[in-house]
């Protein structure tokens, strides 16, 4: 099994990105490739589901940080859902909960795009 697999699927006007495995400086290229391709294609309403992540190093959070303003400038956003354990803890200690909207479930995150 690879260290990281990144699946995407559409839910209405939103693209759900589901990384499985871990994101560090070695595996982040694949995560960035998927996010870059979405933003470049104008798919700027993005939900990242963290349900299947074992850990995320700063490289993974940096990938979100580097693209979130691009997504917002295009009328969308990058939102995060279903973070658990250490991933959720690191998200908070880095202060990402102030940069990025988070939701308990993927469904809530997708629905949150309904109004904006």
């Amino acid at each position: 099994m690879p260290d990281l697999e990144v699946a995407t699927r559409r839910a209405a006007e939103v693209v759900v990105v589901e990384p499985k495995g871990f994101i560090n400086a070695h595996t982040v290229a694949e995560f960035e490739r998927v996010l870059n391709a979405l933003v470049e294609a104008g798919d700027v309403r993005i939900v990242i589901s963290g349900a299947h992540l074992s850990y995320v190093a700063s490289a993974g959070f940096g990938a979100i940080m580097g693209l979130i303003e691009e997504a917002r400038a295009g009328g969308g956003d990058i939102r995060v859902a279903a973070l658990t354990g250490t991933v959720a803890h690191i998200f908070r200690v880095l202060g990402f909960d102030r940069l990025c909207r988070t939701f308990e479930t993927e469904e809530e995150a997708v629905l949150s795009f309904g109004g904006n």
Binding site: N24, Y55, S58, G62, M65, I68, G85
Partner: protein
């Protein structure tokens, strides 16, 4: 078990040399995580320690050695009475300035993807410093306090 010291009480360090490549990050993560668990940290604390050590390793690979191949990092685990100390010794460049903190909003507006590693290390560990041990030899030192009350003699 006579002759074997109890876990976490000033034993000799465990030391391994690791190629300074991103391919080795998961190995370093797993070695650190398992060592922390063996030293009595709970699984979530062990995972945090492993992430912090991975950040130090990444800093050495990307900044000290500037991503150039053929270098190594000496990873040293030193279990003490009150802390687990982890050292990453390298022969690359020392960081010129370590940020005191980060402004995520500014980094995001500037579309920056880096600049979080040292901050994350400091948030996850109780003590983080970068030392120059000798000419051309540097070391990241990370310490995490052991859980629970300190022993009376500490």
């Amino acid at each position: 078990m006579e002759g074997i010291e109890p876990l976490g009480r000033d034993r000799a360090p465990l030391e391994i040399d690791v190629p300074a490549t991103c391919e080795c990050l998961s190995l370093v993560h797993e070695a650190t995580r398992r060592t922390a668990i063996a030293e009595g940290f709970d699984p979530s604390a062990a995972e945090e320690i492993a992430v912090a050590v991975g950040e130090a390793m990444t800093n050495v690979i990307e900044h000290a050695y500037q991503g150039k191949p053929g270098h190594a990092v000496r990873l040293r685990f030193l279990p003490g009475r009150d802390t687990l100390r982890i050292e990453l010794e390298h022969c690359g460049a020392a960081p010129t300035n370590l940020p005191a903190g980060v402004d995520l909003g500014r980094l995001a507006r500037e579309r920056r993807r880096g600049g979080l590693g040292v901050h994350l290390m400091r948030r996850l560990m109780d003590h983080v410093v970068h030392e120059e041990l000798a000419a051309g030899v540097c070391c990241w030192v990370l310490e995490r306090n052991r859980p629970g009350p300190r022993s009376p003699e500490s």
